[in-house]
């Protein structure tokens, strides 16, 4: 921040730094609690732990004892990836349409598109099950994806929308005037500009699906057992430490993925601009 500082700026700069540090503490603190708890030597979730061990990770990866967790994790990942793909695609198209149009419909459409965000998941889950049962459709993988995608799309729409709102219309007009096809304009002009928003949107949609409890509760079935529902049961009745270990694995995998992709494509830089 040094290049921005003028002589009278010390106080505001210190305040900004202090708040930023507090923000980091609040963001990271609870995650540290979870990770530390996952190494506890106690038989049940306990913080602070009396001692440290890798035992719960061994149990979590045990193909026999944790088979059901693995199955649920596989289901949840598959659903979340499918949901992220659909949600981001639908949201990017819609966000560009809205941003490029000054018409009144666009404003109304945006409000409507965001509506699923504000319906409590439990009510939405109940309503979808009633609706699909009425259509005589039993719970299935694709209904689960559809239900999750409706909840996840607004997240993507909002972040892509924020990027698209800043698109310079004259740039696009220039591209069209120079004879570029709409697809080429999208590929060469728009996409590079909105990539941070799209990446953030896809990520949010993925996580929203991965962590969804209420919709899965109704649209899940014996053959589509979902991870959060399973972890919830393990935690509620027996304070099973594998729940914390599962979170530890998720954080580690995401961390590694970020590092690897950063090395390969500079994703972090891209997300950050």
């Amino acid at each position: 921040m040094s290049r921005l500082l003028a002589p009278g700026d010390r106080l505001p700069a210190i305040l900004i730094l202090a708040l930023a540090a507090l923000a980091l503490l609040i963001l990271i603190g609870p995650v540290v609690v979870v990770i530390v708890t996952s190494f506890t030597t106690s038989q049940a979730l306990r913080f602070p732990p009396p001692g440290l061990t890798f035992r719960w990770y061994q149990e979590l990866f045990d193909p026999v004892r944790s088979a059901q967790i693995h199955r649920a994790a596989g289901n949840s990942l598959l659903v979340a990836i499918t949901v992220a793909a659909f949600s981001t695609g639908l949201a990017t198209a819609a966000a560009l349409g809205i941003a490029r149009s000054g018409a009144r419909w666009a404003r109304a459409a945006e409000g409507t598109f965001l509506a699923p965000l504000v319906l409590p998941g439990i009510a939405y889950g109940l309503a979808t099950l009633m609706f699909f049962s009425w259509l005589r459709l039993p719970p299935s993988f694709w209904l689960l994806v559809a239900g999750h995608a409706m909840i996840a799309t607004p997240f993507a729409l909002r972040t892509v929308g924020a990027s698209a709102a800043g698109l310079d219309g004259s740039l696009l007009d220039a591209s069209a005037a120079l004879g570029a096809s709409p697809w080429r304009t999208f590929h060469k002009v728009i996409l590079p500009l909105i990539t941070p928003g799209v990446a953030a949107g896809a990520f949010l949609a993925f996580i929203s699906s991965l962590d969804n409890v209420p919709v899965s509760l109704f649209l899940g079935s014996a053959s589509n057992d979902m991870l959060p529902i399973r972890l919830w049961g393990m935690m509620e009745t027996s304070l099973d430490v594998r729940v914390a270990a599962a979170s530890g694995v998720l954080v580690a995998v995401a961390f590694l993925l970020l590092l690897v992709m950063d090395r390969m494509v500079g994703l972090v830089r891209k997300m950050a601009g």
């Binding site: 921005l4 500082l5 003028a6 505001p12 700069a13 900004i16 708040l19 930023a20 923000a23 980091l24 609040i26 990271i28 609870p30 995650v31 609690v33 979870v34 913080f47 639908l90 198209a93 819609a94 560009l96 809205i98 490029r100 404003r107 459409a109 598109f113 965001l114 509506a115 965000l117 504000v118 319906l119 409590p120 439990i122 009510a123 309503a127 979808t128 995608a149 409706m150 799309t153 607004p154 729409l157 909002r158 972040t159 924020a162 990027s163 709102a165 800043g166 069209a176 928003g197 953030a200 990520f203 949010l204 962590d211 959060p228 304070l239 729940v243 998720l250 997300m271 950050a272 601009g273």
Partner: protein, 276 residues
């Protein structure tokens, strides 16, 4: 890409929503106006119970206030962090982005336990307060509105930070240098250069945080506890325990309508700002 055909781009999402969102929503609306879940007869009973009852209306007010307080808290913390990210070198940038997504990676299930461990009477904060002599007895934090807002601030902060950072990424560093070189103070640069570009991101974040905090049923009920009444829990209770689906549907639609009103206002503001 001419604006004339722009509406076609929104068509796929619109169709998907009619099929998978609007139709279930209509069933919900019909249920709220019926005597039971089989829609045997029409009745205004459920709506009368929601709108004519100070406890239910109070819960609605609490829910909106909780969303607003969470937006306020996340804004106060996320804006400085996003600024730090803007000014930071590549290493620190990476760290901040990683921290920004961390809360999303700990499942809602285990997060509730972490907050019990932090806010409880023998928890991290109380132990620290007593060890440093700032308090002599445990301060009640768990199951208070303050404790809940703190927890929600962590949980929802990514939804504020990510759009904010994405929006700020479009700021041209040359502009910042120029502003400083011209002798503008830090606050003036922030107000004149950074804020106008970051505002759509801020409003996007506020929308997501508000809606998510107001409907965060598991965090509200587990960290907030049974003494704080919020609408999502009442919806769940009426739907799943009491089986009064008309009332559950009416409560759900009340929550949806009130949150949607706030979100639409934020969206309108966002468009206005973007077109200035």
């Amino acid at each position: 890409m001419e604006p004339k055909g722009a509406w076609r781009l929104a068509l796929p999402l619109a169709l998907a929503q009619v099929l998978f969102f609007l139709a279930p929503l209509l069933i919900l609306a019909a249920t709220s106006l019926a005597t039971d879940e089989n829609l045997s007869a029409v009745s205004g009973q459920a709506w009368a119970e929601v709108l004519g009852d100070s406890f239910n209306l109070g819960a609605a007010w609490n829910t909106l206030r909780l969303g607003a307080m969470t937006v306020l808290a996340t804004t106060v913390l996320a804006v400085p962090l996003a600024l730090l990210h803007l000014a930071a070198g590549p290493g620190l940038k990476k760290l901040i982005l990683l921290a920004a997504v961390l809360p999303l990676l700990t499942s809602v299930v285990v997060r509730t336990f972490a907050w019990i461990a932090i806010l409880g009477r023998e928890g991290v904060i109380n132990n620290a307060l007593i060890a440093t002599g700032l308090a002599t007895a445990p301060v009640p934090l768990l199951q208070t509105e303050h404790g809940l807002i703190l927890a929600l601030t962590q949980i929802e902060m990514p939804l504020m930070l990510l759009p904010l950072i994405a929006a700020m990424a479009r700021i041209d560093p040359v502009l910042l240098d120029a502003s400083a070189a011209l002798g503008a103070s830090l606050l003036r640069t922030l107000r004149r250069v950074v804020l106008p570009i970051a505002l759509p991101g801020l409003l996007a974040g506020a929308t997501l945080v508000f809606a998510s905090a107001a409907t965060a049923f598991i965090s509200q009920s587990v960290i907030g506890g049974g003494r704080l009444a919020y609408l999502p829990y009442l919806v769940w209770q009426q739907a799943m325990v009491v089986f009064n689906w008309p009332l559950a549907a009416a409560l759900a639609l009340t929550l949806m309508a009130s949150v949607l009103a706030v979100v639409t206002a934020l969206s309108a503001l966002g468009r206005k700002v973007a077109h200035v």
